[in-house]
Every structure is written in structure tokens, then in C-alpha cells.
């Protein structure tokens, strides 16, 4: 079971500032608690400012086939947008980011774990429910699961020929992140302040 929570409103507004955005809500999965009412309210506000090219609410965008079908129907709205804002768990955001290779894809939520049973979503991408989603700093590739050391401030220098030092069959997650950021013109994301992870993600102790 996991829970998604909207990022701070200022964070989301600043992600969308000055851009035309397309918004994707994922309500599919019973395993995920989704902040529906707050999301609605926020989206109405963004739409009022006139910069929203389209909003869809769907289910299981973590399933690549399902997602492709849904997004194809809205291709023109997505093309018209500078960025895509995804309100889902970390897996959903990564699935969309991988599909829309050339788009800026932003996560509007943080994903936390809740004790209990995990869902049986088809996992092409992994999310460790780290509680402060880093996907906006990493071009939609999860540094927690794509990097063997779960580094959040860049690559470790151990990669050889693009492969991770820990596992020669695995591409270095941070080289993927770097390439992706270069591709979408967002290398400036690497100039963000030093990230220090917060492992106190359970409800009682989080910020």
C-alpha cells in the first residue's frame, strides 16, 4: 500500500509557471491513496490562468500499453504543451516520462509507503516510495531505484562504459539521467541545491 501526497502548492505552481501544461491524473489503483479533492482544486486554479492545454483522469498509467492508448487520444493537446504534469505515484510518472521522451515531465506528488500489502501493478519501472519524489530533478528517471547506491546528487564515478560498477548488466542510472536531462534541455536541474535524503518518511516523524 502506498500513499501519494501533493507536493507543496508553490512547488507545483513554480513547475508550471510560464508554461503551457498538460495534466494527467491517475486514479486507477486501489493500492494508492490519491489526494483527489486537493488535486481538483489545484487544477482548476491552474486552468483559470489559461495555461492548461488539457486534463485527463485515467487509471493504471503505470501500464505502458494502457498509458499509450490514453495519451494517443490526446496527442494534439500534449504536443501543444511545454510540459506534462503527472499526479500519480512515482511509477506512473516514470512511465509517462519514458514514453514522452522529448517532453519535460514533472511529478506533482510525493510517494510514501504505508505498511501493508503492495499492489500488483505491472512494474516496468520501480518506485521505492522515498517520500520526496526526485523525478523533477532527474528528468523522470528515479535515482532511488535506477542507481545502485540510490544517489541523489549525481553519479558516483564508478560507471565503466556506461555500466554500473555494481552490475555490468545494468546501465548506470545517473548516465541515463544525464542523457535525458540533456535531451529535454534541463541540465540546469543538476545545479539544484545539495539534496540530503530524509529517511523519516513514516507519518509520525515526517517533516
Amino acid at each position: 500500500m502506498l500513499i501519494t501526497q501533493l507536493k507543496a502548492k508553490e512547488t507545483i505552481v513554480s513547475l508550471a509557471a510560464g508554461k503551457k501544461v498538460f495534466i494527467i491524473n491517475c486514479h486507477g489503483c486501489k493500492e494508492v491513496h490519491f489526494p483527489e479533492a486537493e488535486a481538483d482544486e489545484l487544477e482548476k486554479e491552474l486552468a483559470k490562468a489559461g495555461n492548461v492545454t488539457g486534463i485527463i483522469t485515467t487509471d493504471y498509467i503505470c501500464n505502458p500499453d494502457n498509458m499509450k492508448l490514453r495519451l494517443e487520444a490526446h496527442k494534439s493537446e500534449i504536443d501543444a504543451a511545454d510540459a506534462v504534469l503527472v499526479l500519480s505515484c512515482g511509477v506512473g510518472v516514470q512511465t509517462v516520462a519514458a514514453y514522452l521522451e522529448d517532453k519535460k515531465v514533472y511529478a506533482a506528488c510525493d510517494t510514501y509507503p504505508l505498511p501493508g500489502f503492495q499492489g500488483v501493478t505491472p512494474l516496468e519501472y520501480n518506485c521505492d516510495q522515498c517520500g520526496e519524489c526526485y523525478l523533477n530533478l532527474t528528468g523522470g528517471i528515479c535515482p532511488i531505484t535506477a542507481c545502485s547506491k540510490s544517489l541523489v546528487n549525481g553519479q558516483c564515478g564508478g560507471a565503466k562504459n556506461g555500466r554500473c560498477e555494481v552490475d555490468g548488466d545494468m546501465e548506470c542510472g545517473w548516465e541515463r539521467i544525464y542523457r535525458r536531462l540533456a535531451q529535454v534541455g534541463r541540465l540546469d536541474a543538476l545545479k539544484c541545491p545539495t539534496q540530503v535524503r530524509n529517511f523519516a518518511t513514516d507519518d509520525a516523524t515526517s517533516k
Binding site: 547506491k149 546528487n153 558516483c156 564515478g157 564508478g158 565503466k160 555494481v166 545539495t194 540530503v196
Partner: protein, 292 residues
């Protein structure tokens, strides 16, 4: 003495690294360091290098300091969480150890305790940030330190011949932003690549020491080419090592090659860092051959 003072004086700063033994008998390491490394600016002590369990870096630094050498305490994020790291930093300050080299560290799977839990609570960048915070009198949890805060020369590494050098430069920039004072590089065997790298790295305005390994044999060179990140020994050098086996075995070829690399890189950097890997005894010859 802080290594940064030597950079500020405009010296070409020479450091070399020693690895603590697997065991607690340190006499041999101290003897070698005193004999061959006492003329250089500072001596790095590795921290369970390659994830192989050894005597502690901090204790070895203290022993070197007691012998009159200037140690650089290497600290990785693999084995300690932020509480243990900060605690060791305070311990270092208490011993009067003033130089740090802050690293993420190799993964536990590369070493001799593959079943160990890799920690990586912090990484090289957030560790630099942590030291900076301690220096301001506050720990990473936001709690005030008692008394005068510690002050360190904060070093980090960068890999100039890496195949993803742009990503390395981006990471270097993050380290500078976090408060890094100086850099030591991964071993360089391709001076042209190092010079190109320095053209871009000089914008950060931090001193850089070129990393040097004395190649011991053609086999070692090939091994590094296949297994060590950011190192590529060109074919001509491997041929050179193959040419006269006796000369290579005696270390003469390796010293010639390393001295040549230092000479080529010297105009573009602020020092040299020698990873002798057991050949500490060759360091004086190397420095002489390189004209330092």
C-alpha cells in the same frame, strides 16, 4: 597544516596515498611513509579501499601525524550513516587532523564482504555539505556544537578521463557549490584528455591535483582498462611496458611513463596525487624524474 595553505602559497602540491593493512600492526606502513613520503605535502589514507575491510583510516591518520607527517583523512559514505560520519569528523578534529578527502565510496559488492549492507545515507556531495555545516557550528540535524567548530580543508575526487566527462564536470560543480576546496583526480594516462578537462574545470577556480598511478606491468594496465572506471591506458604505453620485462619489473618503465604524464599535465594543474599501490618506495624517484 591544511593542504589549502600550500595551494594558496602557489606551491605545486604533492600528495601520495597509503593503504592501512588488514590487521593492526602499522609499523611497516609508518616506516615506509617516513622513509619515502616525508618530503611531500601530505599523505592520503584510504578508507577501506575497494570495500575491503582494513585498519581504520582515522586511526592510521593519527599514527602518521604522531610521526610528523600531514595526513589526509579519506572518508566514504559506504559504511557509516550521517551520525557516525559526523562523529568521526569531530574525532578527526580532536586529533588535529585538518585535511579531508570526501567520497561516496565503492559499493560493498566490489569488496571482500559482499553480504554487507551498503549504507550511502549521504553521498560525496551531501557529505561536503555536512562538513561545511559542522564548520558553521551546527550539525546536520540542526543542533549546535559545543565550543569552537572544527575547520577542515575539504577535498573531493573527479574523473577527468571518464567516458562521461560532462556528467563528471556537472558533479564537480555540485561539489564546489557544496563547499569543496580542492580536487584530486582519478589516475590519468591520457594527458590530452586531462588538459581538455582542465580547460573546462578551471572555471570553478579550485586547485586540482592530477592523479598518477605508476604502472607496474602490461597485465596491470590491461586489468585497469577492463575493470577500473575512468582509466584508460593507451596501447602504446602497454607496448612500452611489454618491451623490456626486466626494466618494467624493476619499476623503471613505470616511473618513466608516470614522470612523462606528470610533466605534460603540470602546466595545467596545481599539484599531483600519487597512488603508489605498494610502490611507495618509487615515489622519490618519480618526483625526481618529473622534475619536482
Amino acid at each position: 597544516m591544511k593542504i589549502t595553505e600550500a595551494f594558496e602559497r602557489g606551491e605545486f602540491v604533492v600528495t601520495a596515498e597509503v593503504g592501512p593493512p588488514k590487521g593492526f600492526h602499522i609499523e611497516h606502513v609508518l616506516e615506509e611513509a617516513k622513509t619515502y613520503l616525508s618530503g611531500i605535502t601530505a599523505v592520503n589514507v584510504t578508507d577501506n579501499q575497494s570495500s575491503v575491510m582494513r585498519l581504520g583510516s582515522l586511526a592510521t591518520c593519527k599514527a602518521l601525524k604522531d610521526e610528523g607527517l600531514t595526513p589526509i583523512f579519506q572518508l566514504t559514505c559506504r559504511d557509516r550513516n550521517r551520525i557516525a560520519l559526523q562523529s568521526d569528523l569531530l574525532s578527526a578534529a580532536m586529533f588535529g587532523i585538518e585535511n579531508l578527502l570526501l567520497l561516496t565510496g565503492d559499493h560493498t559488492k566490489l569488496g571482500d564482504h559482499k553480504a554487507a549492507k551498503p549504507v550511502f545515507d549521504l553521498d560525496s556531495v551531501s557529505l561536503i555539505h555536512t562538513v561545511k555545516q559542522l564548520e558553521s557550528g551546527v550539525d546536520l540535524g540542526g543542533n549546535e556544537l559545543v565550543g569552537e567548530p572544527p575547520k577542515f580543508a575539504k577535498g573531493a575526487v573527479v574523473s577527468p578521463c571518464s567516458d562521461s566527462v560532462d556528467a563528471q564536470l556537472a558533479k564537480m560543480e555540485r561539489k564546489v557549490a557544496a563547499g569543496c576546496d580542492y580536487f584530486q583526480t582519478q589516475a590519468v594516462f591520457e594527458p590530452e584528455k586531462f588538459i581538455q578537462f582542465m580547460e573546462k574545470a578551471k572555471q570553478f577556480g579550485k586547485p586540482v591535483q592530477v592523479g598518477i598511478i605508476i604502472p607496474k606491468s602490461a597485465g596491470m594496465a590491461k586489468f585497469m582498462n577492463n575493470n577500473v572506471a575512468g582509466i584508460h591506458v593507451p596501447d602504446e604505453m602497454i607496448e612500452e611496458l611489454k618491451a623490456d620485462k626486466e626494466k618494467t619489473k624493476a619499476g623503471i618503465t613505470g616511473v618513466e611513463i608516470a614522470a612523462r604524464i606528470i610533466k605534460e599535465c603540470k602546466p595545467y594543474c596545481q599539484g599531483v596525487h600519487i597512488m603508489a599501490l605498494g610502490w611507495e618506495s618509487k615515489v622519490p624517484d618519480l618526483l625526481k624524474a618529473a622534475g619536482i
